[in-house]
Symmetry: C4
Subunit: 314 residues, 4 copies
């Protein structure tokens, strides 16, 4: 593995990823999350985070399941005291009585309270009073979570699936492309690209991971409202200078992309991450156009789905 360590020089970047970092596998997954297992002690550390980041379907199923379980629990509690706890409880079968209590419970927890079933004993009245109180707390919690979910600042930026190494000016450049598919602008957008690469320590001979910041042609724009191609020229100052495709593979190179900006719809800062491992870098290709003008030359058009399209060169 000696050939992959041609004494890279450059601006080392402190990413907080440590020295004990694995030299195999990727640091950042395709979806931008870190490739790490955290052994945490407390379920509650991540409860709110999980509830606002899980998919809509999982969230809905979870609260529906909770709703049904609470109702089932209260139905059983109402029946503990016997069938005379609630008005007009059927007495022919336990299942019918239980379903009767279940419906009463759901009418109580949602505060519908038709009244065709009503509590007839002291204990059932007390239980119903508690249940309606819990019900309001439960839906208050869901209200908050729903708002937390859809107001959460998220950068919905699409990245090209591959990064390219393309001809640029008189040499080559490392490039990738991003598009903002939303109608709300990302203002003061800023991007930072780091190269994570294995290097053998001169003294100890151990392989360690090093992080280099890559200079970009344009790293900050006033509005990220359409497409943006990020370009790092591979010149003599670049840590990539002189490296071949095979050397990048051998050195387990990974390009870490960090984007930040302010989402104009809610004026909150958003962050997006992306990584390209060396197998995701295509050499000698260029991105296909994805922006155009309307026929009357008056408006611009952006085709978001073309963000990853490229063509191989000769």
């Amino acid at each position: 593995m000696a050939k992959f360590a041609p004494r890279i020089k450059g601006d080392q970047r402190e990413l907080g990823l440590g020295r004990h970092i694995t030299t195999q596998g990727r640091l950042i997954n395709a979806d931008g999350s870190f490739n790490v297992i955290r052994h945490s002690n407390s379920f509650w550390d991540n409860a709110y985070y999980d509830l606002v980041t899980m998919s809509n379907w999982r969230f809905f199923l979870m609260i529906f399941f909770t709703f049904t379980t609470i109702n089932a629990l209260f139905a059983s509690l109402y029946l503990l005291g016997g069938t005379e706890q609630l008005s007009s409880t059927p007495t022919n079968s336990y299942f019918d009585a239980w379903m009767h209590a279940f419906f009463f419970s759901s009418q109580t927890i949602t505060t519908v309270g038709y009244g065709h079933i009503s509590p007839t004993s002291f204990s059932a009245s007390l239980l119903a009073s508690l249940e309606s109180f819990f019900g309001l707390l439960f839906f208050a919690l869901i209200s908050g979570l729903l708002y937390g979910r859809f107001s959460r600042p998220v950068a919905k930026v699409l990245f090209s699936q591959n990064a390219l190494i393309s001809p640029f000016q008189n040499g080559t450049a490392f490039m990738f492309r991003m598009v903002n598919p939303r109608r709300s602008e990302l203002v003061e957008a800023e991007v930072e690209v780091s190269l994570a690469i294995n290097q053998r320590d001169e003294e100890t001979g151990e392989i360690a991971r090093r992080f280099f910041r890559l200079d970009l042609e344009i790293s900050r724009i006033a509005f990220f409202s359409m497409a943006w191609t990020i370009v790092h020229a591979i010149n003599a100052n670049s840590p990539l200078y002189g490296l071949t495709e095979e050397q990048l593979m051998d050195a387990n190179a990974e390009f870490l992309i960090l984007l930040k900006g302010t989402d104009e719809s809610n004026e909150q800062m958003v962050h997006a991450r992306k990584s390209y491992i060396s197998a995701e870098v295509v050499w000698n290709a260029k991105f296909s156009p994805m922006m155009g003008r309307t026929k009357d030359q008056v408006k611009m058009e952006v085709h978001s789905h073309k963000v990853g399209e490229y063509e191989h060169l000769n």
Copy 2:
């Protein structure tokens, strides 16, 4: 078109608007939005954004329509099992029965639940239980959207309809005026003005759009609480120096205004945008006064509606 390209020099500004930009038509519309069509793949990319930015009337009609549709749907579902599903359903006509079910549905989804109509079968009870659950989620969602709508950070700054080129010191200046019509201050307000202008590339002969930052007399103030006239002196350092009204028209000049500040009412950063195309620039005029003092000389007065008023000079 050669006459419009007198080799403009100046601080080029990276706005993120790209090189493929159309050289006709305006970049930013009168309301501050970008003049661009985005072909996005997913409806959900913009769902929250649309729901919090649509007009109050459209929002209200949309949720009212949704409310009515859900009720109509559930009314039909209740009747699927026959007229004996709900208590006291009229049997004389399907329409009467359906309206009966519709009213029951609305009493269920809103959790009013008078009880003079109640579910009498197992399936109707189950359906009602589901409907009240959905109803609470629906109104929880609306609660969140309403809060999202009125707490959204928006800079309600009024801009003068026209920009002026007016006498200033010993020469002229490009000017426009803004007013903050609200009682909450915009603190640490900062404005940035860029000139977008067509230029012919020396080498390729192609016409491209260039962006120049214009120096301002005052670009940042501690409080934007009243009126603010932005002044760019057209001196030898200005990209506008020596250009005539016709040349600006020919070069499709557009002045892009970016304002940011912190709205003191909720302490959130807000951004406002405005653009003046060359046809909206009035030459040789000055703004009419819009601020005064009360008769007792003790308070200042601002007349917001006069923000765009100007007078032509001889």
Copy 3:
């Protein structure tokens, strides 16, 4: 008035308060608001701002009044079709019938829906369906406003009622004191003091208002968790150097205080403002101590109510 304009030199500060500013009266009121009348066109510009900033009592009375008015309106609407619209309507007097309808309305809008009164006609059912829908929107709006009210970032900093000019080192200093009465810290607190003062223009002879930034001994601290005395030393670099109490009065001097910091309880930036006019500046006095230690020397104590206490010196 010539004596008040001893050619003040110093760092002029652009506060955004303009040149047309009145030279009488104060710029900033005692409560931190600007002393300005804004003639705005639209009620809606300030609706949300007013609703979240009005006093708790006014807010409560306003929504209670709205609640009652809507109920009264719907009560009248229910009775338009006659007394047979709602079940068990009393027919002896219009007032009794109206109150009956009023109670039904309040049971509908709050979604209580006991059911001892229920709609008996098509039109009343339809109206009740609408009312419950409006009711939920109304309380959803109030939910949001309540959250907007108590989560609004506000710096509850107490300022001393007077500023002092006190002995300091070998000369004197302009001083005032602030205290944070809350248990949540204000982190990275920063204060800026400007002097607004009348000056006669050398050339035109007109009196204009000038703004000078005053250098502070300490203008930024990591935590504003207790008391903080702000000190501007009146040395040769100070615009106040050599000015007497009378001269400050004559020149209508006003000290504008701007404080910002991050409230740790919600991590939002907050701003506070205060102004001292020359009549509120006490000469030759010093602030009384307001911090101490508990008897065991282990804890500090802050007495917030003493923030304005001072003693005259000989």
Copy 4:
């Protein structure tokens, strides 16, 4: 106490903790709060802060107690007018009648409104109308508080229980360790360490507290997503240089740790504080490893609970 004041030099840090600070006891408690008693005038200054920071159990008990108290109050009010105010009130005992009214009240305040109990008099109807209105406000308030509680930006960073003074390069270093136990990253994390230490004033002979900023090997990282060991090298530039364990004790040394960063889950700035008094500093020890790799070398693992583990060195 003379031996503890070896003329410490260094970058003095303005923390806003004042000169009147106690020279005994700690400044910052183990949980990060300041060790200060604030005598505030107004309960309302801290009401919202207390409601969103109290423990979940205390919050739940508080609203449950409030709910029960309001119901008890209204139950008594309904009975003021006699037992004929509410339908089917039992007349055999006052307790039974009161519980009947209590259940009616809870059905009203939660807007369940079964209707098997309903107001039968004018005054009871009016009271019920008011109660349901208050009920909706009460739960709207709780909704907001719940959202305020779980959306509150809090840095759940775990600090090692002890700081260490360990061998480092050719000398020693002051070290402590932090871990982020959550799945959401803390981006652009920044840490600042100050030393609070007693010093005798050369001139007055009084003992005063001084604050020195300690230089850190790495004070800012792009992502705080795993573990982070903070290192201050004790070299000739360090205020700690040459001090012994006993001298630190005598001088009541306290290390103040301030961490800030942006929580990626809600993109809000968060702050964490920690302090180590000299008794919590362990000399000649090193932290045990807490990060590793999975067996396949592909993922990293973090063991949060090991954050404080260390081993003594011979």
